[in-house]
């Protein structure tokens, strides 16, 4: 299926949960390197860490994976 990850359209396999998807990103050659510290929004809504096991991805979902960055 296709999703948008950080503004980029990517094709991914079917995963049962967000946790499964993030685990796949840790594999070599993945679309994006999953950092140690990150926070997630799915379709514009924040997904708390404890919900990763209860949330799944659907076709056309927009996933944002944000990391710490410099700011003013």
């Amino acid at each position: 299926m296709n999703i948008t990850l950080n503004g980029k359209n990517i094709e991914i396999a079917q995963y049962n949960t967000l946790n499964d998807f993030f685990s796949s990103l840790k594999e070599e050659g993945s679309a994006l390197q999953v950092p140690k510290q990150f926070a997630v929004a799915l379709n514009g809504n924040f997904v708390p860490r404890e919900q990763y096991d209860k949330s799944s991805l659907q076709e056309g979902d927009e996933l944002e994976l944000l990391v710490p960055m410099q700011g003013g």
Binding site: V67, Q70, G71, G72
Partner: protein
Amino acid sequence: MWKIADREVNSRLLIGSALYPSPDIMCKAIRASQSDIVTVSLRRQTFDGTAGEQFWNLLKELNINILPNTAGCHSAKEAITTAQMARELFNTNWIKLEVIGDDYSLQPDPFALLEATQELCAQGFEVFPYCTDDFVLCEKLLAAGCRILMPWGAPIGTGKGLMNPYALKQLRQRLPEATLIVDAGIGAPSHASQAMELGYDAVLLNTAVASSNKPIAMGEAMGLAVQAGRLAYEAGIIQEQETARPSTPTLGTPFWHQDSTP
């Protein structure tokens, strides 16, 4: 020491972490400023980098209070989601709430800012709203649950200093209980001092230090300027006078001056 929200800190300077020539200079400039609070942001993890992780490690090294921002948000919904993500990522309920209403001046959108503030305060955030110096807006932000207000000195990154000292002075006088921080527009140490002389509790700046030719030296200068301004405010600045008054005592003036007296 002074208290900001529920934490005690030494410095009255809050400093940004962006725009420095290098991560090393950023760390040295922040340390030189003696600031206890650094602002940070959240951005997308890039597809080819580990910048987020490197920055995270630098923050751990600095070991000071972190104030995440919602920079770049243009709606209450975006700002609320970003704040929720920041709370989890940085493990703090502090949020510098920015909701931009005009891309030209980077002026905050007062309506969306108030809407986001109401929601985030209800969710237990300590909201540091980046706002204008509009008294009515500031009053409504306090009513929504803010203890801290951060009116702009001038548009972000302009370095113009305090564009409307009258309005800032009025805010200080009319909102004596609020923690007031001038945020944005500071260019020179004298601007930071001026804000502190008005009785502001602190100053937040970034570009003035990071884009200076010598950010480490400028960081130190800003820290000292904030200290000087606060000391002057506490000491009490004299009232301006329209006419000259001799500072040297006139009693005992030597005889040769007496001839010239009409």
